[in-house]
Amino acid sequence: MEKTLAKYFPVFVLPTLIAFMIGFVAPFIMGIGLSFTEFTTVSDAKFVFLDNYVKAFTTTGFLDALWFTTKFAIVSVLSVNICAFLLALLLTRGMKGTNFFRTVFFMPNLIGGIVLGYIWQLILNGVLAQFGVTLTYDPKYGFWGLVILMNWQMIGYMMIIYIAGIQNISDSVIEAAQIDGATPFKIITNMIVPLVMPSVTICLFLTTSNAFKLFDQNLALTAGSPSDKTVMLALDIYNTFYGRVGWEGVGQAKAVIFFILVAMISLPQLVTTRKREVEE
């Protein structure tokens, strides 16, 4: 069969391959190349070697965005995962209305980043109006606004993964522990947590890479205000590309650094997923 099928390459692979070349391979290679050049329209590229990378790190903006994004990632990854895990415990007790609760908690995940950003802009500005300020008055409001938004969006998603993990634990193990006199707290910390470690790994990687890649929510909620103090990495790259003529090369260099950063976060995840597939 393999030999017959091999002849059908143009039917089975070519359409995807052509689209993949246009939509990924060519732009990716061009992107790497252009990060070492100064350009405004691709065709006028002039080789400048590492100039763009030096500029990326020495001008203000990028490092601030990196620091802001890292802080944001740490806080939101922890809060999202703790909340999601607790909700998963709550919804695996066979409680009445479990399906309804799961439906509600997951729903925000389906709403797009732009829409989410404007929903929370309304809510948070409404709350802050009681104190006579707005979301863009102080960067810390924007920071916590993004954390709250991220939690609202991601908790339900991570909860679903944790629920699947908890449901995989066989009841007999838990029952045996109960008969041996383990307290519910002991069962959670000494049995459930270690047994759902694979789910914890998936969720930590997913939330971290999503936190680093956040763009739409950032654009809609604060757009970086006040004075670019709440700009995250992806938005900073966007602003460098489209906000300053002549800085496209620097934008591309920032994008390459951003890619390396995100790849370092996502690669272990990909490798574990693939390994798990092979073992199955």
Partner: protein, 277 residues
């Protein structure tokens, strides 16, 4: 013991109810405000409309006219539906081929697809736009090819994972019965892959429907999708017509909620099994 559990259960049930209310609250507030005059929203979003602030469906009409929401909705639907169909058919065929035909080219392709999954959009944002412009793919038809290309990684990866678990015997039987590979694929392989087809379709629908940056950069000036149209409401200098904004947010959320409630079983399952990216 039994009694204590009951108290605990009731407490947790109440906690769950309160949390559900907290989760739905923002959407309800947006809905309520969509019926208030534009100047009564920002300062007091938590107050109900009064006879003074209630404006009926004015905001909806204003929004529909201002950003041509219906046309945005049409383009979003068109692009999402056809991109997802293209992705499902093309990438599942490719995945089957590269798993079944073993040579160094197919394994290289496999790793290239897998690699593309970890590349963030910003990395190719500028160059992809240039390539698409040069090839005249900057229209609602061309963007389908771009979605297929940029989204192929995850989908090929997921289909390939599933193909590995399909026993070869089924396909060999079809070949012996006289099917050519195309018939074998559509009559035997594709039906077996149905669970993954649903997962891939749902993940890509969620991505493409909500995507902002790619349609904005590629076709944003001429053809606006829903997220692009909503962002467009913001205007140049940060002055937002809050009334129209609220109404359009409601119109953007309603179809998603309907879609979610009508196939939530598949969505939740699909999202759980597609938790890679």
């Amino acid at each position: 013991m039994q009694k204590r559990n009951k108290v605990l259960d009731t407490t947790l049930f109440i906690v769950a109810i309160l949390l559900s209310i907290a989760f739905i609250f923002p959407i309800v507030i947006v809905f309520i405000n969509s019926f208030k005059g534009r100047f009564f929203i920002s300062d007091a979003p938590f107050s109900l409309p009064t006879s003074e602030t209630f404006v009926g469906v004015t905001n909806y009409i204003e929004g529909l006219v201002k950003i041509k929401f219906l046309s945005a909705f049409g383009w979003s639907t068109f692009i999402t539906v056809f991109s997802v169909i293209a992705i499902v058919i093309c990438t599942s065929m490719t995945a089957w081929y590269i798993v079944r035909v073993k040579n160094k080219w197919t394994s290289m392709l496999y790793y290239a697809f897998a690699f593309s999954m970890i590349v963030p959009f910003q990395m190719v944002m500028f160059t992809l736009t240039k390539v698409a412009n040069t090839l005249h793919l900057d229209n609602p038809f061309g963007i389908i090819i771009i979605y297929l290309g940029f989204g192929a990684g995850l989908s090929v990866f997921m289909f390939a994972g599933f193909v590995k678990s399909i026993p070869l015997e089924i396909e060999e039987a079809a070949i012996i019965d006289g099917c050519n590979p195309i018939q074998t694929y559509f009559l035997v392989v594709l039906p077996v892959m149905k669970p993954t087809v649903i997962t891939v379709a749902i993940l890509n629908t969620m991505w493409i429907w909500n995507d902002y940056l790619l349609p904005y950069l590629l076709i944003g000036t001429e053809y606006k999708t829903v997220p692009v149209a909503i962002q467009y409401l913001k205007g140049g200098y940060g002055s937002i017509d809050m009334g129209a904004m609220m109404a359009m947010l409601v119109l953007a959320i309603v179809p998603i909620v309907i879609f979610y409630l009508s196939c939530q079983k598949y969505i939740i399952k699909g999202v759980a099994s597609g938790a890679i990216k």
